[in-house]
């Protein structure tokens, strides 16, 4: 608000009443008060009603013994010793696992399809179009049922498992891959891998600086390959091959040993990835089309081929348009992962809002916690995507 100093300002009650700023504050506080009161009365009403109906409330159930089992667990969990709280973490980690892998895979697939749709290759661009139109226009739940059946139905039972190269086995209970066991000195291989990774990042940074300063290019790709793959392999040979594998083998009904990848997980991952990739493809296409054609022509005039033009000129500019809608697709994928409940994948909703809610009967607490978790995951994702967006945004001089 600006005041004109030449006019004499009357100070007093009347002027405060007509001051738009003061009025604005008053109304905002009034609305805030009403909202706070609504929340307070809803909460106290709920507590009172729960007490009146003799329904247990509070978070006391968190440390009670769970008494049920979950098949896919990233942390130790068993019916005999684990609590509802641990069941929550089992579900949460399963949600994060499928969401994070799904986000990475759908980004790659989405970029590939989005770029393909703009390809001058007629077959490729039409295939990409069909993919996008089919995937985007079918309900996700239906697609999940499709993938679950598509994964389960053609696979044999454990007694007739399909042998895959490298000792892996495939049947309708999942994919079993050999479980690597590190012998003495085995941890050196992991350290070599980490070292290679760090060295690669450092080299890439150095190479970029060199290129900016002198214009010389360095073979970053080959160096990365050498550092990340060849170095650990070399250490593996030098330390006397300290890795042994536990191979899956038939024992009774099922296979024993090895790492089991569950069909529910695969079906959910396939469903989420292909579905979200359809949307990402359109976002990418829109982003690329938003870059003016003159940019490509200018790059061509400088002598850049199609690949480098896309990579160095078009995509970096397209990213400014792509990132915000890409973020909401990531959020959608995470939230859609709760459809896991339909195909028996033990995600947060299935384990916590399903079994735990039913065994404890504490719907209000369990649903509130679940909502808070999804909200947190979404906000954290947006936070990091916003940082990325700021870095990619147009820098105006």
């Amino acid at each position: 608000m600006t005041t004109i100093p030449s006019e004499p300002v009357e100070t007093g009650k009347a002027s405060l009443l007509y001051d738009p700023k003061i009025r604005g504050y008053f109304y905002q506080f009034a609305v805030l008060g009403i909202v706070a009161f609504l929340f307070y009365s809803a909460a106290s009403n709920a507590i009172e009603n729960l007490r009146a109906q003799n329904i247990a409330s509070g978070l006391g159930f968190w440390n009670n013994a769970a008494g049920f089992d979950v098949n896919q667990k990233l942390i130790p969990f068993s019916a005999s010793g684990s609590t509802y709280g641990q069941a929550f973490y089992v579900g949460l980690l399963n949600t994060l696992l499928v969401a994070s892998i799904g986000i990475v895979l759908s980004t790659f697939l989405g970029f590939f399809v989005g770029v393909s749709r703009l390809s001058s290759n007629w077959v490729l661009s039409k295939l990409a179009m069909i993919y996008v139109e089919v995937i985007r226009n079918l309900p996700l739940l239906l697609q999940l049922f499709f993938w679950y059946n598509a994964v389960l139905k053609p696979l044999p039972n454990p007694r007739q498992s399909i042998d895959l190269p490298g000792g892996a086995l495939l049947n309708n209970r999942g994919l079993y891959i050999p479980d690597p066991q590190l012998g003495p000195g085995g941890s050196l291989i992991i350290w070599a891998f980490v070292l290679g990774l760090v060295a690669t990042i450092a080299f890439r940074f150095w190479a970029r600086k060199q290129q900016a300063a002198t214009g010389r290019q360095y073979p970053v790709g080959w160096v990365a390959l050498g550092l990340i793959l060849v170095l650990p392999f070399f250490v593996y040979l030098v330390t006397g091959r300290p890795v042994s594998f536990i191979y899956p083998e038939l024992a009774g009904f099922n296979l024993r040993g090895g790492i089991q990848i569950f069909p529910e997980f695969v079906a959910l991952l396939l469903g989420l990835t292909t579905y979200t990739a359809g949307f990402i493809a359109e976002v990418v296409r829109a982003g690329i089309l938003a870059v003016s054609k003159g940019q490509t022509e200018a790059a061509n005039a400088l002598g850049l081929r199609a690949g480098p033009t896309l990579k160095l000129v078009v995509i970096p500019q397209a990213m400014r348009v792509i990132i915000p809608p890409l973020t909401s697709n990531y959020l959608n994928l995470t939230k859609n992962s709760s459809l896991a409940v339909a195909i028996g994948y033990p995600d947060l909703v299935q384990v916590f809002t399903g079994t735990v809610l039913n065994q404890t009967g504490q719907a209000v607490e369990v649903v509130a916690i679940t909502m808070a978790v999804y909200l947190t995951i979404s906000l954290v994702t947006s936070f990091f995507m916003n940082i990325y967006n700021k870095r990619m945004a147009l820098v105006e001089r």
């Binding site: 009403n45 247990a56 389960l152 139905k153 009774g252 009904f253 409940v341 719907a363 649903v367």
Partner: protein
């Protein structure tokens, strides 16, 4: 996600907003009378217990209890609105007041009776958990299931009993839990699991859904006690009495030999127990807020417990389940009702 969150949210909203819906007027019975309809939470489709027939009419042992209560209140067994509820959603629906009672094979356990704000009104089917496997596996005992994958429906006592059974017998297993029974049986049929587990009555009912029902056998072991019965909300004793005594009246009618066919002639009976049952003596109906011919109405419209059993799950049905534990106490079973006097 939508259905589960939806139901849970609806329940939350109801608990948050419905500022003491029960406390406002007399009792649930008075409300049901003034609404003119009984809202009954039933199973979403379990043959013999609660399932719509080809014409869309609900039938089953649990459904008959809803009909009996409707008959006792309205002298008409069809003033019932059926709400199909999955295992996961049933208690929330009852707690929030969406249904007046739950009559859908629900196991009576201490924690449900105490911490959920609910009351069990009796046991209308004594059941126990069992396993179904494909004959091809050549298994004759559940104790040979070590290492097996087992499909089950989540949000049930089944899930807990399963864990207990394998833990107690020191066997490993893999559980695959689904939200609805249809998905569970489909996954079992597609070979995802070696065994399917639920209450024994449910095994027979679900087996009817399989393409080759004859290829599957129910193993002899019963691994748990599953007393199934109707459930009402805590805090309305009169309504609890109505539900409890409707079930008891059906049992007493069977014990006294009063059937749907002969109930009219029984009105002239001199047997004092029958006179009290059909309401020609005493004012027992009025004591629970009904008319004195309440039990007569139940038997006239629905029949006694034995008739309902045989028609829905026994010899007169596809399930052909023997009375077993559900026979009257006079015939070696567990069904025993306190007397009407």
């Amino acid at each position: 996600m939508n259905t589960i969150f939806g139901a849970a949210l609806a329940a939350t909203a109801a608990i948050v907003c419905a500022g003491g819906a029960q406390a406002q007027t007399g009792g649930l019975l008075a409300q049901i009378k003034s609404k003119g309809v009984l809202t009954c939470g039933v199973g979403p489709g379990l043959a013999g217990f609660g399932i719509p027939d080809a014409q869309g009419n609900w039938t089953g042992l649990d459904v008959d209890l809803c009909k009996a209560i409707s008959a006792a209140i309205f002298n008409d067994p069809n003033k019932v609105k059926y709400i199909p509820l999955s295992s996961k959603d049933r208690f929330t629906a009852l707690q929030s007041g969406e249904v007046d009672l739950l009559s859908r094979n629900t196991t009576w356990t201490m924690s449900r009776d105490t911490s959920l704000g609910l009351n069990f009104a009796g046991v209308n089917y004594y059941d126990g958990q069992g396993f179904m496997v494909n004959k091809k596996l050549n298994i004759t005992s559940a104790l040979k299931l070590g290492g097996a994958s087992v499909c089950t429906q989540q949000g049930t006592t089944t899930e807990l009993n399963l864990a207990d059974f394998f833990r107690a017998n020191n066997m490993k297993y893999e559980v695959v839990a689904f939200a609805s029974s249809d998905e569970t049986i489909k996954a079992y049929e597609s070979g995802r699991c070696d065994a399917f587990t639920t209450d024994a009555s449910g095994l027979y009912a679900e087996r009817l859904k399989l393409a080759n029902a004859a290829d599957h056998i129910v193993l002899p072991e019963i691994i748990s006690k599953e007393p199934l019965g109707p459930v009402v909300r805590h805090g309305d004793d009169n309504w609890l009495d109505v539900v409890k005594w409707t079930h008891n009246a059906m049992l007493n009618a069977e014990e006294l030999g009063v059937t749907k066919a002969n109930v009219d002639s029984m009105l002239k009976s001199d047997n004092p127990e029958i006179k009290r049952l059909v309401g020609t003596e005493g004012k027992f109906g009025e004591a629970i807020g009904l008319t004195n011919d309440w039990a007569y109405r139940i038997i006239k419209h629905v029949g006694n417990y034995g008739e309902s059993f045989e028609k829905n799950v026994g010899a007169g049905s596809l399930l052909k389940i023997a009375r077993g534990q559900n026979a009257l106490w006079t015939k070696g079973g567990l069904q025993y009702a306190p007397p009407i006097r």
